[in-house]
Protein backbone atom coordinates (compact mmCIF):
# COMPACT_ATOMS: atom_id res chain seq x y z
CA UNK A 1 0.00 0.00 0.00
CA UNK A 2 1.42 3.33 -1.03
CA UNK A 3 0.34 6.10 1.24
CA UNK A 4 -0.06 9.65 0.21
CA UNK A 5 2.29 12.47 0.85
CA UNK A 6 2.04 13.10 4.64
CA UNK A 7 1.11 16.69 3.98
CA UNK A 8 -1.82 15.65 1.82
CA UNK A 9 -2.85 13.14 4.47
CA UNK A 10 -2.86 15.75 7.16
CA UNK A 11 -4.86 18.12 4.98
CA UNK A 12 -7.38 15.37 4.29
CA UNK A 13 -7.69 14.88 8.01
CA UNK A 14 -8.52 18.54 8.34
CA UNK A 15 -11.36 17.96 5.94
CA UNK A 16 -13.36 15.40 7.89
CA UNK A 17 -11.71 14.64 11.21
CA UNK A 18 -12.62 11.38 12.89
CA UNK A 19 -14.97 12.21 15.72
CA UNK A 20 -15.86 9.64 18.28
CA UNK A 21 -18.17 11.77 20.37
CA UNK A 22 -21.24 10.26 18.78
CA UNK A 23 -22.69 6.96 19.87
CA UNK A 24 -23.90 4.44 17.34
CA UNK A 25 -27.61 3.67 17.56
CA UNK A 26 -28.26 0.06 16.60
CA UNK A 27 -31.81 0.25 17.94
CA UNK A 28 -32.52 2.86 15.29
CA UNK A 29 -31.11 0.57 12.61
CA UNK A 30 -33.37 -2.24 13.80
CA UNK A 31 -36.36 0.08 13.80
CA UNK A 32 -35.60 1.17 10.24
CA UNK A 33 -35.16 -2.39 9.12
CA UNK A 34 -38.54 -3.40 10.51
CA UNK A 35 -41.22 -3.01 7.83
CA UNK A 36 -43.70 -1.39 10.22
CA UNK A 37 -41.31 1.42 11.07
CA UNK A 38 -39.33 1.65 7.89
CA UNK A 39 -41.88 3.72 6.05
CA UNK A 40 -41.84 7.46 6.28
CA UNK A 41 -45.23 7.77 4.70
CA UNK A 42 -47.86 9.41 6.78
CA UNK A 43 -50.40 6.95 5.51
CA UNK A 44 -48.72 4.04 7.25
CA UNK A 45 -51.12 3.64 10.13
CA UNK A 46 -49.17 0.82 11.74
CA UNK A 47 -46.02 2.84 11.85
CA UNK A 48 -47.41 5.88 13.55
CA UNK A 49 -49.89 3.98 15.63
CA UNK A 50 -46.96 2.32 17.35
CA UNK A 51 -45.57 5.54 18.73
CA UNK A 52 -48.80 7.36 19.33
CA UNK A 53 -51.86 5.28 19.84
CA UNK A 54 -54.29 7.46 21.68
CA UNK A 55 -57.12 5.86 23.63
CA UNK A 56 -60.34 7.76 23.38
CA UNK A 57 -61.87 9.98 25.98
CA UNK A 58 -65.25 11.58 25.70
CA UNK A 59 -64.19 15.18 25.66
CA UNK A 60 -64.24 17.99 23.20
CA UNK A 61 -63.93 21.74 22.96
CA UNK A 62 -61.49 24.47 22.11
CA UNK A 63 -58.12 25.32 23.53
CA UNK A 64 -56.14 28.41 22.64
CA UNK A 65 -52.52 29.22 23.17
CA UNK A 66 -50.72 32.36 22.09
CA UNK A 67 -50.70 32.96 18.39
CA UNK A 68 -51.41 29.34 17.60
CA UNK A 69 -54.93 28.40 16.79
CA UNK A 70 -55.17 25.20 18.78
CA UNK A 71 -58.56 24.01 17.72
CA UNK A 72 -59.10 20.52 18.99
CA UNK A 73 -61.83 18.87 17.05
CA UNK A 74 -61.35 15.42 18.39
CA UNK A 75 -61.15 13.66 21.69
CA UNK A 76 -57.75 12.60 22.87
CA UNK A 77 -56.09 11.04 25.83
CA UNK A 78 -52.64 9.56 26.29
CA UNK A 79 -50.29 7.81 23.92
CA UNK A 80 -49.01 4.31 24.34
CA UNK A 81 -45.26 4.63 24.32
CA UNK A 82 -44.21 1.58 22.39
CA UNK A 83 -41.52 3.50 20.47
CA UNK A 84 -40.17 6.83 21.57
CA UNK A 85 -38.55 7.81 18.32
CA UNK A 86 -39.47 7.59 14.70
CA UNK A 87 -37.04 8.79 12.07
CA UNK A 88 -38.31 10.17 8.81
CA UNK A 89 -36.16 10.92 5.80
CA UNK A 90 -37.29 14.34 4.68
CA UNK A 91 -36.05 14.05 1.14
CA UNK A 92 -37.90 10.85 0.36
CA UNK A 93 -41.06 11.84 2.24
CA UNK A 94 -44.07 12.64 0.04
CA UNK A 95 -44.87 16.22 -0.85
CA UNK A 96 -47.29 17.96 1.45
CA UNK A 97 -50.83 18.64 0.31
CA UNK A 98 -51.75 21.89 -1.41
CA UNK A 99 -53.65 22.89 1.72
CA UNK A 100 -50.44 22.68 3.73
CA UNK A 101 -48.45 24.52 1.04
CA UNK A 102 -51.03 27.28 1.33
CA UNK A 103 -50.72 27.35 5.10
CA UNK A 104 -46.95 27.78 4.92
CA UNK A 105 -47.31 30.26 2.07
CA UNK A 106 -49.88 32.31 3.94
CA UNK A 107 -47.58 32.38 6.95
CA UNK A 108 -44.79 33.65 4.77
CA UNK A 109 -46.97 36.32 3.16
CA UNK A 110 -48.32 37.50 6.50
CA UNK A 111 -45.01 37.39 8.32
CA UNK A 112 -43.42 39.48 5.61
CA UNK A 113 -44.85 42.45 7.41
CA UNK A 114 -42.76 41.79 10.45
CA UNK A 115 -39.81 39.44 10.55
CA UNK A 116 -39.78 37.24 7.46
CA UNK A 117 -39.50 33.61 8.44
CA UNK A 118 -38.36 32.59 5.01
CA UNK A 119 -40.46 29.43 4.94
CA UNK A 120 -40.24 27.56 1.61
CA UNK A 121 -43.88 26.50 1.06
CA UNK A 122 -43.32 24.36 -2.02
CA UNK A 123 -40.63 22.32 -0.29
CA UNK A 124 -43.08 21.09 2.35
CA UNK A 125 -43.19 17.36 3.01
CA UNK A 126 -45.75 15.24 4.78
CA UNK A 127 -43.75 13.31 7.33
CA UNK A 128 -46.14 11.40 9.53
CA UNK A 129 -49.55 11.37 11.17
CA UNK A 130 -51.11 10.39 14.45
CA UNK A 131 -54.63 9.29 15.07
CA UNK A 132 -56.67 11.41 17.44
CA UNK A 133 -60.01 9.85 18.18
CA UNK A 134 -60.49 8.57 14.68
CA UNK A 135 -59.05 11.63 12.94
CA UNK A 136 -55.64 11.78 11.38
CA UNK A 137 -53.53 14.69 12.57
CA UNK A 138 -50.88 15.07 9.90
CA UNK A 139 -47.45 16.55 10.52
CA UNK A 140 -45.96 18.42 7.60
CA UNK A 141 -42.69 20.33 7.75
CA UNK A 142 -40.81 22.70 5.51
CA UNK A 143 -37.38 24.31 5.74
CA UNK A 144 -36.74 28.03 5.93
CA UNK A 145 -34.23 30.07 4.01
CA UNK A 146 -32.22 30.66 7.15
CA UNK A 147 -31.69 26.98 7.88
CA UNK A 148 -34.65 26.67 10.22
CA UNK A 149 -37.96 24.94 9.81
CA UNK A 150 -41.70 25.34 10.19
CA UNK A 151 -44.14 22.61 11.13
CA UNK A 152 -47.86 22.20 10.61
CA UNK A 153 -49.94 19.74 12.62
CA UNK A 154 -53.24 19.68 10.76
CA UNK A 155 -55.86 21.47 12.82
CA UNK A 156 -53.26 22.98 15.14
CA UNK A 157 -51.72 25.74 13.06
CA UNK A 158 -48.21 26.52 11.92
CA UNK A 159 -45.29 26.58 14.32
CA UNK A 160 -41.80 27.67 13.37
CA UNK A 161 -38.62 26.71 15.21
CA UNK A 162 -36.39 29.19 16.94
CA UNK A 163 -32.89 30.01 15.77
CA UNK A 164 -30.64 26.97 15.97
CA UNK A 165 -27.78 29.08 17.26
CA UNK A 166 -29.76 30.38 20.22
CA UNK A 167 -31.70 27.29 21.18
CA UNK A 168 -30.30 24.79 23.67
CA UNK A 169 -32.64 21.93 22.87
CA UNK A 170 -36.15 23.11 22.21
CA UNK A 171 -36.82 24.82 18.89
CA UNK A 172 -40.39 25.56 19.93
CA UNK A 173 -42.75 24.69 22.72
CA UNK A 174 -46.44 25.28 23.31
CA UNK A 175 -48.76 24.22 26.04
CA UNK A 176 -52.49 24.23 25.44
CA UNK A 177 -54.65 23.59 28.45
CA UNK A 178 -58.38 23.48 28.70
CA UNK A 179 -58.93 21.19 31.69
CA UNK A 180 -62.64 21.94 31.67
CA UNK A 181 -62.84 20.23 28.31
CA UNK A 182 -60.37 17.54 29.34
CA UNK A 183 -57.81 18.72 26.82
CA UNK A 184 -54.17 19.40 27.59
CA UNK A 185 -51.53 19.24 24.89
CA UNK A 186 -47.77 19.57 24.95
CA UNK A 187 -46.44 20.36 21.51
CA UNK A 188 -43.11 21.48 20.13
CA UNK A 189 -39.82 20.57 18.56
CA UNK A 190 -36.25 19.86 19.53
CA UNK A 191 -33.13 20.52 17.54
CA UNK A 192 -30.95 18.10 19.53
CA UNK A 193 -30.98 14.74 17.85
CA UNK A 194 -29.87 12.86 20.91
CA UNK A 195 -32.33 14.61 23.17
CA UNK A 196 -35.09 12.74 24.90
CA UNK A 197 -38.12 14.91 25.67
CA UNK A 198 -40.02 14.33 28.88
CA UNK A 199 -43.02 15.89 30.53
CA UNK A 200 -42.45 16.46 34.23
CA UNK A 201 -45.40 16.36 36.59
CA UNK A 202 -45.92 18.14 39.91
CA UNK A 203 -45.37 14.86 41.76
CA UNK A 204 -41.87 14.70 40.17
CA UNK A 205 -42.77 11.83 37.88
CA UNK A 206 -41.66 12.11 34.28
CA UNK A 207 -42.93 10.51 31.12
CA UNK A 208 -41.02 10.34 27.85
CA UNK A 209 -42.73 11.92 24.89
CA UNK A 210 -42.59 10.21 21.49
CA UNK A 211 -40.57 12.15 18.93
CA UNK A 212 -40.57 12.13 15.15
CA UNK A 213 -37.07 13.08 14.02
CA UNK A 214 -36.94 14.55 10.52
CA UNK A 215 -33.62 14.45 8.70
CA UNK A 216 -31.81 17.27 6.90
CA UNK A 217 -32.51 19.96 6.03
CA UNK A 218 -35.06 20.00 8.85
CA UNK A 219 -32.85 18.35 11.47
CA UNK A 220 -35.43 18.54 14.22
CA UNK A 221 -37.66 16.25 16.22
CA UNK A 222 -41.36 16.96 16.69
CA UNK A 223 -43.76 15.98 19.41
CA UNK A 224 -47.46 16.32 20.11
CA UNK A 225 -48.41 14.83 23.43
CA UNK A 226 -51.81 14.63 25.06
CA UNK A 227 -51.60 14.77 28.83
CA UNK A 228 -53.75 12.06 30.43
CA UNK A 229 -57.00 13.33 31.88
CA UNK A 230 -56.08 12.42 35.44
CA UNK A 231 -52.87 14.44 35.16
CA UNK A 232 -54.19 17.70 33.85
CA UNK A 233 -54.82 19.52 37.14
CA UNK A 234 -53.79 19.69 40.79
CA UNK A 235 -50.81 17.96 42.36
CA UNK A 236 -50.33 15.66 39.37
CA UNK A 237 -50.41 18.36 36.66
CA UNK A 238 -47.56 18.97 34.18
CA UNK A 239 -45.05 21.51 35.47
CA UNK A 240 -42.25 21.39 32.90
CA UNK A 241 -41.01 19.94 29.68
CA UNK A 242 -37.46 18.64 29.92
CA UNK A 243 -34.87 17.74 27.29
CA UNK A 244 -32.28 15.24 28.46
CA UNK A 245 -29.26 13.65 26.87
CA UNK A 246 -28.13 10.42 28.46
CA UNK A 247 -29.90 11.44 31.65
CA UNK A 248 -28.40 14.93 31.79
CA UNK A 249 -30.87 17.79 31.61
CA UNK A 250 -30.05 20.03 28.65
CA UNK A 251 -33.01 22.34 28.94
CA UNK A 252 -36.03 22.59 31.21
CA UNK A 253 -38.95 24.81 30.31
CA UNK A 254 -41.51 25.41 33.05
CA UNK A 255 -45.13 25.02 32.04
CA UNK A 256 -47.18 28.01 33.03
CA UNK A 257 -50.85 27.31 32.59
CA UNK A 258 -52.65 30.12 30.78
CA UNK A 259 -54.51 32.40 33.13
CA UNK A 260 -58.09 31.29 33.41
CA UNK A 261 -60.14 34.47 33.67
CA UNK A 262 -63.71 34.19 34.76
CA UNK A 263 -65.90 36.45 32.66
CA UNK A 264 -69.34 37.95 32.93
CA UNK A 265 -71.63 39.11 30.13
CA UNK A 266 -73.35 42.49 30.24
CA UNK A 267 -75.58 44.46 27.91
CA UNK A 268 -74.84 48.11 27.25
CA UNK A 269 -77.25 50.87 26.32
CA UNK A 270 -77.07 50.02 22.63
CA UNK A 271 -78.02 46.41 23.29
CA UNK A 272 -74.52 45.08 22.65
CA UNK A 273 -73.42 42.08 24.69
CA UNK A 274 -70.09 42.91 26.30
CA UNK A 275 -67.92 40.37 28.11
CA UNK A 276 -65.72 41.59 30.96
CA UNK A 277 -63.49 39.88 33.52
CA UNK A 278 -65.47 39.15 36.67
CA UNK A 279 -63.26 41.54 38.65
CA UNK A 280 -64.65 44.46 36.61
CA UNK A 281 -67.31 46.51 38.41
CA UNK A 282 -69.61 46.98 35.43
CA UNK A 283 -72.27 49.10 37.21
CA UNK A 284 -69.60 51.77 37.85
CA UNK A 285 -68.49 51.95 34.22
CA UNK A 286 -67.81 55.25 32.49
CA UNK A 287 -68.18 55.68 28.78
CA UNK A 288 -65.04 57.65 27.96
CA UNK A 289 -65.23 57.63 24.15
CA UNK A 290 -67.83 56.64 21.57
CA UNK A 291 -68.24 57.38 17.87
CA UNK A 292 -69.54 55.77 14.72
CA UNK A 293 -67.00 54.31 12.30
CA UNK A 294 -67.31 54.74 8.54
CA UNK A 295 -69.17 51.42 8.32
CA UNK A 296 -71.60 52.70 10.99
CA UNK A 297 -70.30 50.34 13.64
CA UNK A 298 -70.18 51.85 17.10
CA UNK A 299 -66.72 52.27 18.57
CA UNK A 300 -66.51 52.76 22.31
CA UNK A 301 -64.28 52.76 25.35
CA UNK A 302 -65.55 51.90 28.81
CA UNK A 303 -63.50 52.29 31.97
CA UNK A 304 -64.49 50.83 35.36
CA UNK A 305 -62.91 49.97 38.71
CA UNK A 306 -61.64 46.55 39.75
CA UNK A 307 -63.04 44.57 42.65
CA UNK A 308 -59.56 43.34 43.50
CA UNK A 309 -57.63 46.52 44.15
CA UNK A 310 -57.91 50.27 43.86
CA UNK A 311 -54.56 50.24 42.04
CA UNK A 312 -56.15 48.26 39.22
CA UNK A 313 -58.83 49.15 36.72
CA UNK A 314 -60.78 47.43 33.98
CA UNK A 315 -61.70 48.50 30.50
CA UNK A 316 -63.58 47.55 27.36
CA UNK A 317 -61.98 48.96 24.25
CA UNK A 318 -63.24 48.07 20.80
CA UNK A 319 -64.21 44.40 21.19
CA UNK A 320 -61.75 43.38 23.91
CA UNK A 321 -61.78 43.76 27.65
CA UNK A 322 -59.19 43.32 30.38
CA UNK A 323 -58.04 44.53 33.78
CA UNK A 324 -54.62 45.79 34.81
CA UNK A 325 -52.57 48.28 36.81
CA UNK A 326 -53.81 51.85 36.79
CA UNK A 327 -50.48 52.92 35.25
CA UNK A 328 -49.66 50.55 32.41
CA UNK A 329 -46.23 48.90 32.59
CA UNK A 330 -43.68 49.07 29.80
CA UNK A 331 -43.02 51.69 27.11
CA UNK A 332 -44.74 55.09 27.53
CA UNK A 333 -46.66 54.73 24.24
CA UNK A 334 -48.34 51.40 23.43
CA UNK A 335 -50.78 52.01 20.60
CA UNK A 336 -51.93 50.15 17.51
CA UNK A 337 -53.72 50.94 14.29
CA UNK A 338 -56.56 48.61 13.37
CA UNK A 339 -59.50 48.82 11.05
CA UNK A 340 -63.00 48.06 12.26
CA UNK A 341 -63.71 46.22 9.01
CA UNK A 342 -62.37 46.17 5.46
CA UNK A 343 -64.46 49.22 4.59
CA UNK A 344 -64.70 50.63 8.11
CA UNK A 345 -62.46 53.09 9.89
CA UNK A 346 -58.81 53.04 10.82
CA UNK A 347 -58.68 53.34 14.57
CA UNK A 348 -55.79 54.28 16.81
CA UNK A 349 -56.20 52.60 20.18
CA UNK A 350 -54.26 51.51 23.24
CA UNK A 351 -52.75 52.83 26.42
CA UNK A 352 -50.03 55.24 27.41
CA UNK A 353 -48.15 55.72 30.67
CA UNK A 354 -49.64 58.29 33.01
CA UNK A 355 -46.69 60.60 32.36
CA UNK A 356 -47.90 61.09 28.76
CA UNK A 357 -50.06 64.18 28.58
CA UNK A 358 -50.58 64.40 24.82
CA UNK A 359 -49.47 62.71 21.63
CA UNK A 360 -48.09 64.03 18.36
CA UNK A 361 -48.89 61.89 15.30
CA UNK A 362 -46.55 62.21 12.30
CA UNK A 363 -47.62 61.08 8.84
CA UNK A 364 -45.72 60.17 5.67
CA UNK A 365 -46.82 63.36 3.93
CA UNK A 366 -45.37 65.52 6.69
CA UNK A 367 -48.69 66.39 8.26
CA UNK A 368 -49.13 66.18 12.02
CA UNK A 369 -52.02 65.63 14.38
CA UNK A 370 -52.46 66.02 18.12
CA UNK A 371 -54.37 63.46 20.21
CA UNK A 372 -55.05 63.77 23.94
CA UNK A 373 -55.40 60.50 25.90
CA UNK A 374 -58.33 60.10 28.29
CA UNK A 375 -57.41 58.43 31.57
CA UNK A 376 -54.27 57.19 29.76
CA UNK A 377 -56.37 55.52 27.06
CA UNK A 378 -56.48 56.40 23.38
CA UNK A 379 -59.34 55.61 21.04
CA UNK A 380 -59.42 57.87 18.00
CA UNK A 381 -60.22 57.56 14.30
CA UNK A 382 -57.46 58.17 11.77
CA UNK A 383 -58.82 60.44 9.04
CA UNK A 384 -59.56 58.85 5.66
CA UNK A 385 -56.96 61.12 4.04
CA UNK A 386 -54.27 59.13 5.89
CA UNK A 387 -55.33 55.63 4.83
CA UNK A 388 -53.37 55.42 1.60
CA UNK A 389 -49.65 54.92 1.04
CA UNK A 390 -47.70 58.16 1.12
CA UNK A 391 -49.99 59.57 3.77
CA UNK A 392 -49.94 56.98 6.53
CA UNK A 393 -48.85 57.19 10.15
CA UNK A 394 -45.12 56.80 10.69
CA UNK A 395 -44.47 57.81 14.29
CA UNK A 396 -46.20 58.86 17.48
CA UNK A 397 -44.40 61.01 20.03
CA UNK A 398 -45.54 61.13 23.64
CA UNK A 399 -45.15 64.47 25.46
CA UNK A 400 -45.36 65.29 29.15
CA UNK A 401 -47.48 68.18 30.41
CA UNK A 402 -44.31 70.31 30.25
CA UNK A 403 -43.88 69.50 26.56
CA UNK A 404 -40.95 67.15 27.00
CA UNK A 405 -40.68 64.07 24.83
CA UNK A 406 -41.26 61.04 27.08
CA UNK A 407 -41.62 58.31 24.48
CA UNK A 408 -41.87 57.42 20.83
CA UNK A 409 -43.44 54.61 18.85
CA UNK A 410 -42.68 53.93 15.19
CA UNK A 411 -45.25 52.62 12.70
CA UNK A 412 -44.44 50.92 9.42
CA UNK A 413 -46.62 52.54 6.73
CA UNK A 414 -45.99 49.53 4.43
CA UNK A 415 -47.67 47.16 6.83
CA UNK A 416 -50.53 45.44 5.05
CA UNK A 417 -54.05 44.78 6.24
CA UNK A 418 -53.96 47.76 8.58
CA UNK A 419 -55.98 50.40 6.77
CA UNK A 420 -59.37 49.96 5.05
CA UNK A 421 -59.42 49.68 1.26
CA UNK A 422 -61.89 49.36 -1.59
CA UNK A 423 -60.16 46.47 -3.39
CA UNK A 424 -58.43 43.55 -1.74
CA UNK A 425 -55.04 42.60 -3.15
CA UNK A 426 -54.25 38.94 -3.88
CA UNK A 427 -50.92 38.06 -2.26
CA UNK A 428 -51.05 34.41 -3.25
CA UNK A 429 -51.56 31.27 -1.18
CA UNK A 430 -55.19 32.28 -0.70
CA UNK A 431 -54.28 35.46 1.15
CA UNK A 432 -56.31 38.49 0.09
CA UNK A 433 -56.03 41.66 2.12
CA UNK A 434 -55.79 45.41 1.96
CA UNK A 435 -52.38 46.62 0.76
Amino acid sequence: VTDFDPRISSLLNLDVPLRTDERPDWADVLARATPATASSQGTNRRAHASWARWPRAAVGGRARVGALAFVLLAAIATPALAFHRQIVDFISAPKASTVVVKEFGALEVLSEQGTPLGALPHSARRVTSVELNGRDVVLSVTPTKGGGYCAYWSGFGVDCGASRTNAKAFGSFHYAADPGAGVTLVQGSTIRRAAEVQVEYADSKRVTVPIVWVTAPIRAGFFLFAVPEDRQMGARRPVAVVATDDGDVIERLPIVAPRQTATVNHTDRWGRVIETPSEAVWPQRRLLVSFNAADNSLVSLYLMPSRQSSSRRCWVILSSSDCGPADVQGPPVQLAVTSTSRTGSAILSGQVRNVVSYLGLNFEDGRQMKVTPKQAFVLAPIPRSHWTRGHRLTEITGYSAAGEVVGRQAFDPRRRNTYPCTTLHDYGYGVRMCP
Partner: protein
Amino acid sequence: VKQLRHSPSPEDLAALYEERYHRFLRVAEGIVRNREVARDAVQEAFAGLLRDRAQFRGEGSVEGWVWRAVVNAAITSRRSAEGSFAEADESTVASASPTDHDEGSEMRLRVAALPERQRLAVFLRYYADLGYREIAEALEIQTGTVSATLNQAHAALRKQLEEVTL
Protein backbone atom coordinates in the same frame (compact mmCIF):
# COMPACT_ATOMS: atom_id res chain seq x y z
CA VAL B 1 -14.04 -8.76 11.95
CA LYS B 2 -14.24 -12.43 11.16
CA GLN B 3 -14.32 -13.59 7.60
CA LEU B 4 -17.68 -15.10 6.70
CA ARG B 5 -18.66 -17.27 3.80
CA HIS B 6 -22.29 -17.40 4.76
CA SER B 7 -24.85 -14.68 5.22
CA PRO B 8 -23.96 -12.50 8.18
CA SER B 9 -26.27 -12.71 11.14
CA PRO B 10 -27.81 -9.57 12.68
CA GLU B 11 -25.26 -10.00 15.49
CA ASP B 12 -22.39 -10.01 12.96
CA LEU B 13 -23.70 -6.81 11.41
CA ALA B 14 -24.28 -5.23 14.81
CA ALA B 15 -20.71 -6.02 15.83
CA LEU B 16 -19.31 -4.50 12.65
CA TYR B 17 -21.56 -1.48 13.05
CA GLU B 18 -20.46 -0.87 16.64
CA GLU B 19 -16.79 -1.40 15.84
CA ARG B 20 -16.57 0.74 12.72
CA TYR B 21 -19.41 3.21 13.21
CA HIS B 22 -17.29 6.34 13.35
CA ARG B 23 -15.40 5.43 10.22
CA PHE B 24 -18.62 4.67 8.37
CA LEU B 25 -19.90 8.03 9.45
CA ARG B 26 -16.71 9.79 8.44
CA VAL B 27 -16.72 8.35 4.94
CA ALA B 28 -20.41 9.07 4.48
CA GLU B 29 -19.86 12.64 5.65
CA GLY B 30 -17.02 13.00 3.22
CA ILE B 31 -19.40 12.02 0.43
CA VAL B 32 -22.55 13.93 1.40
CA ARG B 33 -20.87 16.89 3.13
CA ASN B 34 -23.50 16.96 5.84
CA ARG B 35 -23.23 15.12 9.13
CA GLU B 36 -26.96 14.66 9.60
CA VAL B 37 -27.49 13.26 6.12
CA ALA B 38 -24.39 11.11 6.59
CA ARG B 39 -25.75 9.69 9.82
CA ASP B 40 -29.00 8.79 8.11
CA ALA B 41 -27.15 7.24 5.21
CA VAL B 42 -25.21 4.96 7.55
CA GLN B 43 -28.36 3.99 9.43
CA GLU B 44 -30.23 3.32 6.21
CA ALA B 45 -27.34 1.32 4.81
CA PHE B 46 -27.34 -1.00 7.80
CA ALA B 47 -31.11 -1.25 7.84
CA GLY B 48 -30.91 -2.36 4.21
CA LEU B 49 -28.12 -4.81 5.00
CA LEU B 50 -30.21 -6.33 7.77
CA ARG B 51 -33.13 -6.79 5.44
CA ASP B 52 -31.05 -8.09 2.55
CA ARG B 53 -28.34 -10.02 4.37
CA ALA B 54 -29.44 -13.25 2.69
CA GLN B 55 -28.21 -11.77 -0.58
CA PHE B 56 -24.59 -11.80 0.60
CA ARG B 57 -22.92 -14.28 -1.76
CA GLY B 58 -19.70 -14.82 0.18
CA GLU B 59 -17.55 -13.79 -2.79
CA GLY B 60 -15.76 -11.12 -0.80
CA SER B 61 -15.49 -9.99 2.76
CA VAL B 62 -18.49 -8.92 4.76
CA GLU B 63 -16.68 -5.67 5.47
CA GLY B 64 -16.28 -4.89 1.80
CA TRP B 65 -19.93 -5.70 1.22
CA VAL B 66 -20.90 -3.41 4.09
CA TRP B 67 -18.67 -0.60 2.89
CA ARG B 68 -20.21 -0.84 -0.55
CA ALA B 69 -23.66 -0.44 1.01
CA VAL B 70 -22.57 2.56 3.07
CA VAL B 71 -20.90 4.26 0.12
CA ASN B 72 -23.92 3.59 -2.12
CA ALA B 73 -26.33 4.89 0.52
CA ALA B 74 -24.27 8.05 0.93
CA ILE B 75 -24.07 8.60 -2.83
CA THR B 76 -27.81 8.08 -3.13
CA SER B 77 -28.45 10.55 -0.32
CA ARG B 78 -26.17 13.11 -1.90
CA ARG B 79 -27.82 12.74 -5.29
CA SER B 80 -31.28 12.99 -3.74
CA ALA B 81 -30.25 16.14 -1.95
CA GLU B 82 -28.68 17.64 -5.06
CA GLY B 83 -31.47 16.65 -7.39
CA SER B 84 -34.72 17.12 -5.59
CA PHE B 85 -33.89 19.48 -2.85
CA ALA B 86 -31.14 21.81 -3.81
CA GLU B 87 -33.12 24.93 -2.99
CA ALA B 88 -33.77 24.17 0.64
CA ASP B 89 -30.55 22.94 2.07
CA GLU B 90 -28.80 26.24 2.14
CA SER B 91 -27.26 25.51 5.49
CA THR B 92 -25.58 22.47 4.03
CA VAL B 93 -24.33 24.40 1.05
CA ALA B 94 -23.05 27.12 3.32
CA SER B 95 -21.25 24.70 5.59
CA ALA B 96 -19.70 22.91 2.63
CA SER B 97 -18.37 26.10 1.14
CA PRO B 98 -15.05 27.22 2.51
CA THR B 99 -15.31 30.58 4.13
CA ASP B 100 -11.59 31.00 4.43
CA HIS B 101 -8.72 30.03 2.22
CA ASP B 102 -6.69 27.80 4.47
CA GLU B 103 -5.04 24.71 3.09
CA GLY B 104 -7.68 22.43 4.54
CA SER B 105 -10.46 24.13 2.64
CA GLU B 106 -8.30 24.25 -0.50
CA MET B 107 -7.76 20.53 -0.20
CA ARG B 108 -11.47 19.99 0.33
CA LEU B 109 -12.13 21.67 -3.00
CA ARG B 110 -9.40 19.65 -4.68
CA VAL B 111 -10.76 16.37 -3.38
CA ALA B 112 -14.29 17.37 -4.32
CA ALA B 113 -13.08 18.07 -7.85
CA LEU B 114 -11.56 14.60 -8.32
CA PRO B 115 -13.39 12.09 -10.51
CA GLU B 116 -15.88 10.10 -8.46
CA ARG B 117 -13.96 6.83 -8.32
CA GLN B 118 -10.77 8.62 -7.24
CA ARG B 119 -12.67 10.58 -4.65
CA LEU B 120 -14.31 7.47 -3.19
CA ALA B 121 -11.02 5.64 -3.15
CA VAL B 122 -9.45 8.51 -1.24
CA PHE B 123 -12.29 8.55 1.26
CA LEU B 124 -12.07 4.82 1.87
CA ARG B 125 -8.28 4.88 2.14
CA TYR B 126 -7.98 7.91 4.37
CA TYR B 127 -11.28 8.20 6.20
CA ALA B 128 -11.95 4.49 6.62
CA ASP B 129 -8.37 3.20 6.80
CA LEU B 130 -9.24 0.35 4.43
CA GLY B 131 -6.72 -1.77 2.60
CA TYR B 132 -6.72 -2.05 -1.16
CA ARG B 133 -8.65 -5.32 -1.13
CA GLU B 134 -11.48 -3.89 0.97
CA ILE B 135 -11.57 -0.76 -1.17
CA ALA B 136 -11.77 -2.94 -4.26
CA GLU B 137 -14.68 -4.86 -2.78
CA ALA B 138 -16.45 -1.72 -1.68
CA LEU B 139 -16.13 -0.09 -5.10
CA GLU B 140 -16.50 -3.36 -7.02
CA ILE B 141 -13.25 -2.87 -8.90
CA GLN B 142 -10.03 -4.86 -9.20
CA THR B 143 -7.35 -4.48 -6.53
CA GLY B 144 -4.91 -3.29 -9.15
CA THR B 145 -7.35 -0.64 -10.21
CA VAL B 146 -7.48 0.64 -6.64
CA SER B 147 -3.74 1.15 -6.67
CA ALA B 148 -3.88 2.97 -9.98
CA THR B 149 -6.84 5.06 -8.91
CA LEU B 150 -5.17 6.14 -5.69
CA ASN B 151 -1.95 6.95 -7.53
CA GLN B 152 -3.89 9.13 -9.96
CA ALA B 153 -5.65 10.91 -7.11
CA HIS B 154 -2.37 11.33 -5.26
CA ALA B 155 -0.65 12.74 -8.30
CA ALA B 156 -3.49 15.16 -8.96
CA LEU B 157 -3.61 16.38 -5.39
CA ARG B 158 0.16 16.70 -5.06
CA LYS B 159 0.39 18.63 -8.30
CA GLN B 160 -2.29 21.01 -7.15
CA LEU B 161 -0.67 21.34 -3.76
CA GLU B 162 2.66 22.24 -5.36
CA GLU B 163 0.96 24.80 -7.57
CA VAL B 164 -0.61 26.36 -4.51
CA THR B 165 2.73 26.32 -2.67
CA LEU B 166 4.55 27.95 -5.57
